[in-house]
Structure formats: structure tokens, C-alpha cells
Symmetry: C2
Subunit: 334 residues, 2 copies
């Protein structure tokens, strides 16, 4: 079992804890609004769909409950749980953190569901080709660790880090799950952009592959920069996948990547620059500026390719899908 942080964010824990109740309450609101507008019964089918979706939320319960139980099991008393949650690093819950759980369910299906296969193929396949086999690889911000799992399966020795508590809690559940152990309805809380409402109700099995190989991967819960300061390993490859735009200071990220690479080691990147810390106190460099800094630090460009229209949710589910134009590039260390 992968180590969880000693103090999990209060709001993350409670988002899981309150998910079923919060979802129920949101659907109650939506149903009330629809009932008010239901002149001559014209919205009856819509209301029935909302009621059906509200019930289907319960399908997600066993996966969510397992995740909470795994967290609780680490502590012997209620007081210990409360103490572990006393570290308020995130915003307090507002009673409607369903969107965060919705996000993690989507992430789960993307990484460990059959439905996510085509997205994984588009995103990961170029990385497999570039990295090859027999390498020591670091994957920072690994999310639910499907990428390190696939690279390990292809004969590499993988290390990873992830410090997002939503990811860590679910990763724990995935890492000890049996193939197809859980059923989830990942899009059941979606209320907008829907092309075909029947697709929301489809039940998916996860994980779609036996995840037991995950135990061979060394996953740290440190943030990336702290990990790099601490590790003594020199890697053949640092593979950043949808990761570099999590930086507050991208210059430090680039220096950290360099510091853990062997001479002639490679940095492989795929992802957008959708700076996650969307505030004016983080650095929002453009791609050309990132390249320039990498060159100044001592990298050489080996490969660069823009990928157009990579979808992050199934294309035919929503009218406004998240689409990226990620850059795939490979830099070599001096």
C-alpha cells in the first residue's frame, strides 16, 4: 500500500465523505427547478432522468467508501483521524465539492477504465516509443499512476511522485484492487453539455487491468521539487506528462529535472501550458520561453512536435469537450 500523507487535507477527506449526500442534494435542487417549469408535463421525461441519475450516484458508493475506509484504517481512534485532518492546507468544504469528486471519477475512468483507452493511447504511446525499455524513469505528478504502470510493464524501473490528496486517496484504492473490482458511473454528476443523456448512465468497471504491478513502482507523496532535493537516484529519463504547468516557478522545475538526470539523460514531455495555479503570483511562461530557459540550463532539443486536438473526455459525450494542443518534446541533458 502506498503511503498516504500524514495529514490529509480536511476538505479532500470531507469531499469524499459528503459526496453521496451532496450529490443527492444537488439533484433535489435540479428536480425542484424542473418541476417548477414543468407546465403541461413537458419536462416529465427530463425530471425522470434526473431522478434516475440521482439513484445511480449510489453505484459510486462502494468505490468512495473503500477510499475513505483505507484512510480511516491508518488511524486507531476518531481523535487520530480528527488530528490528521487538522492541517487545513486547502479551502474548507462549502457543502458542494461534488465537482472535485466528479473530477477524480473522470480521472479514474481515464486512467483505469476501458473508456479511457483511446485517450491513453493518444497520450502515452509516443512516450513508450521514445523511452523504450530498460531505463530508470521518474514520473512526477503521476496521478493515478497508469503511466508508470505501463512503463514498468514495458521493462523499465519506475519511480513516481504525487502530492495531490485526491489522487493519493484514490491511488491507494486502485493499488490494492482486483481487476474490475469496482463499478463506477463517472459522468453521473454532469449537468451541462450533454449530447445523449443515456451515456451518463453507463456503468463502467475499474480497474480495466490487474494493477498489482503498481507495488513494484516506488511512489512518493512528496511534491516534485522536495523529491528532487531528497533523492540520490540519477535517472535515465524524467517523463513529465500533463505536469509542467502545475509549477509555480517553472524555472525551478526545469532545474530540478536537470538535477536528477544522468549526463546525457533525457527529459520527455507531453502536455499543455494550462498553468494550474492561475493566479498572478505564479510564472506563466510561453512554450518558446520554456525552451529558451531549458537551453540556458544546459538541455539540447532532440525532438519537438505539436499534437493537435487531443481530447481528454470522450468526444461523443459532450458538446464542449476539453481539448488540448499539447507539445511533445524531448530534451537531452549535457
Amino acid at each position: 500500500m502506498i503511503g498516504l500523507p500524514d495529514s490529509c487535507c480536511w476538505s479532500v477527506y470531507h469531499s469524499f465523505k459528503n459526496y453521496i449526500e451532496d450529490s443527492k442534494s444537488i439533484f433535489d435542487d435540479l428536480i425542484s427547478v424542473a418541476e417548477e417549469h414543468n407546465v403541461d408535463g413537458i419536462l416529465t421525461n427530463h425530471i425522470n432522468r434526473l431522478k434516475e441519475c440521482q439513484k445511480l450516484v449510489m453505484i459510486n458508493r462502494s468505490f468512495i467508501d473503500k477510499t475513505i475506509t483505507l484512510y480511516n484504517n491508518r488511524f486507531k481512534t476518531k481523535e487520530e483521524i480528527d488530528n490528521s485532518l487538522d492541517f487545513h492546507c486547502c479551502i474548507k468544504p462549502n457543502g458542494h465539492q461534488v465537482d472535485m469528486i466528479q473530477n477524480i471519477l473522470e480521472q479514474t475512468i481515464r486512467e483505469w477504465g476501458g473508456l479511457g483507452e483511446s485517450i491513453r493511447n493518444q497520450t502515452f504511446s509516443p512516450l513508450y516509443d521514445i523511452i523504450g525499455t530498460g531505463k530508470t524513469v521518474l514520473i512526477p505528478g503521476c496521478g493515478l499512476a497508469r503511466l508508470p504502470y505501463e512503463l514498468q510493464k514495458r521493462g523499465n524501473k519506475c519511480y513516481a511522485c504525487e502530492c495531490n490528496h485526491f489522487m493519493l486517496m484514490v491511488l491507494n484504492t486502485i493499488s490494492i484492487a482486483k481487476e474490475n473490482e469496482f463499478k463506477i458511473v463517472p459522468y453521473i454528476n454532469c449537468t451541462s453539455d450533454i449530447i445523449d443523456s443515456s451515456k451518463l448512465k453507463i456503468i463502467h468497471s475499474i480497474p480495466d487491468s490487474d494493477p498489482s504491478l503498481l507495488k513494484e513502482i516506488i511512489i512518493s507523496d512528496f511534491d516534485f521539487e522536495s523529491y528532487c532535493e531528497k533523492t540520490t537516484i540519477q535517472f535515465d529519463v524524467v517523463c513529465t506528462c500533463y505536469f509542467i504547468d502545475t509549477a509555480f516557478d517553472i524555472v525551478n522545475y526545469i532545474k530540478s529535472i536537470k538535477s536528477v538526470l544522468k549526463p546525457k539523460g533525457i527529459w520527455v514531455n507531453i502536455g499543455p501550458l494550462h498553468w494550474v495555479n492561475d493566479c498572478y503570483s505564479s510564472l506563466h511562461l510561453s512554450l518558446d520561453e520554456i525552451f529558451e530557459i531549458a537551453f540556458q540550463v544546459g538541455f539540447t532539443m532532440i525532438k519537438k512536435e505539436m499534437i493537435h486536438s487531443l481530447n481528454y473526455i470522450p468526444q461523443d459525450y459532450f458538446t464542449c469537450p476539453t481539448t488540448y494542443n499539447p507539445c511533445l518534446f524531448v530534451m537531452q541533458n549535457k
Copy 2:
């Protein structure tokens, strides 16, 4: 000159008024952050780019100033302006409404810039083909009125309505402009997702076509439902383009469309269902539910086609472009 609403939103007016100062202040913040991180001068080029962008914001001044002047000219005294702004229908400005002006500049380039041509071709061309010529057409939520302009040019008699005050203020400026009268740098305030920072600095001329034909189009500043209650015209076509998801109550929209159509008249739609009023008090129907309601109200489906990956900003500017899967459909009235 198109009529402006008697009381323009205070926040809209002040977003225009404060745009130059607010932009300057945001760039000051970004430059300070970059300077703090500029160890060994590694961010010097990035800082220079920010300073250059800060100066280029001034290019937008003549277009913005003209827009404000046209508003001010309708009133004789400062008191009248203040009174006209006393209707607080929007949120108050927080000093950083630059994003709203950024949006309207992007809209301007999309509708009236050469750069927007391929987007307009993708979105409008199927509508031209379906509507043909010699029709009386209503275009609700017409934005900056390029679609009614193009349909009028193709031999139709166009009516339109638009109640968004950002749109109305800029539409006024466009409608009396000469071809290529203004220069704008539409993406200069973008700070994230940037592939090539030099593209942000490109200066574009607007409007790319002589807009004088706009005066032949009858544009109302009523909201769509009020317009339908008031008008006595029966239309051959109602053309909704990226419009129906502005509804609080989509059932009323559908009934309103029907109420202004001639018998056998057609409703042509292209657009997503990205419900603009993203709160639980508006109805968020799925596409299949909308069709069902249209059938109940008395429409028959003539054509239906999903369009995949329609970009709304130039593909090669950003790593996370806005992409839609809009539905193109045609319904016939009883």
C-alpha cells in the same frame, strides 16, 4: 446607429473605461513576480516580453475609446451618464474586469477580423446553405452581427436581437466603422496556454469588410423572449447560432421560436449546450431532451448532424483551445 439600452450596466461601462489602467496594473504584477524569480537573469527575455505586451495594450485604446465615446454621446451631462449607469444589473467591477474586455476583443476578431475567417467559414457556411436566399430571417443573440450581415448580403431580410451590453457597445462602434478603421491586438492580455508568444503581439485590422450593410438589418436590444412577445413579424427562418444555451428556460425559448415562425417555417441551429447560466436554477437539458420537447411543441426534424472539434480560437495559438462539438439541426414548424 443601433439603439443602445437606456441603462447600460455600470460594470460593463467601467470595464471599458478601466481597461487600459487595469491591464497596465496586471502586467505590473506579472513583471514583479518574474523579477523576484529572475535569478542570474534567466527570465530577462520573459520580462522583456511582458513589458512589450504591456505597451502594446495601448494599440487597443482607440477602439475602446471610440466605444466609450459613442456611449457618452447619447447623454448630455455627467449626471445623465451616472443616472444611465444606475441600473446595477451585473456584478460590480472588482478592478480586474480585463478578462471581459479580452473576451469582447476575441469576439471582435472572430466576427470582424481576417483571423476569424476560417472559424466563421466552419460555423456559418452550413447555415448559408440551409437558409438560401430571399427569406425573412430572425437571428437572436446576434453578438456583433456578422451572421445577419452575411445572410443579408446573400439576399435575405434579416432581423436580429442582442441584449448583452458588452456586445451592444462594440456593435455600435463596428456598425459605423470604415473597413479596417481600427487596429487591435486581441490576445495581448492572455497570460496562459501560450505556444508562441510572438503571436500575441500581432496587430490586426478590423473590420475586415465594409460593415455599412449592417444599417439594413433591424437589430433590437430586447432579450429574445421579450422580442418574440412584442414582434408582429412572422419569419421564414429563425437561426440560432451559439444561442440556445443562453436560456434559463429552454422550453420557453423553443416556444418563442415557434411563436414567430410562419407555418412550415424552419428553425436552424448550430451550437453547443454549454449552459451559460451555470447555476442550478436554470434548466440544463441534454440534446435528446431538447429534441423531444421540440417534437412535443410541434416541430419536425429535417436534418441533424454533429460537428466535431470546431475551434473557437486559432488552433495554433494556445495549448488549450476552446473546442466545441456543436449540433447542427433543422426543424420545421407545423
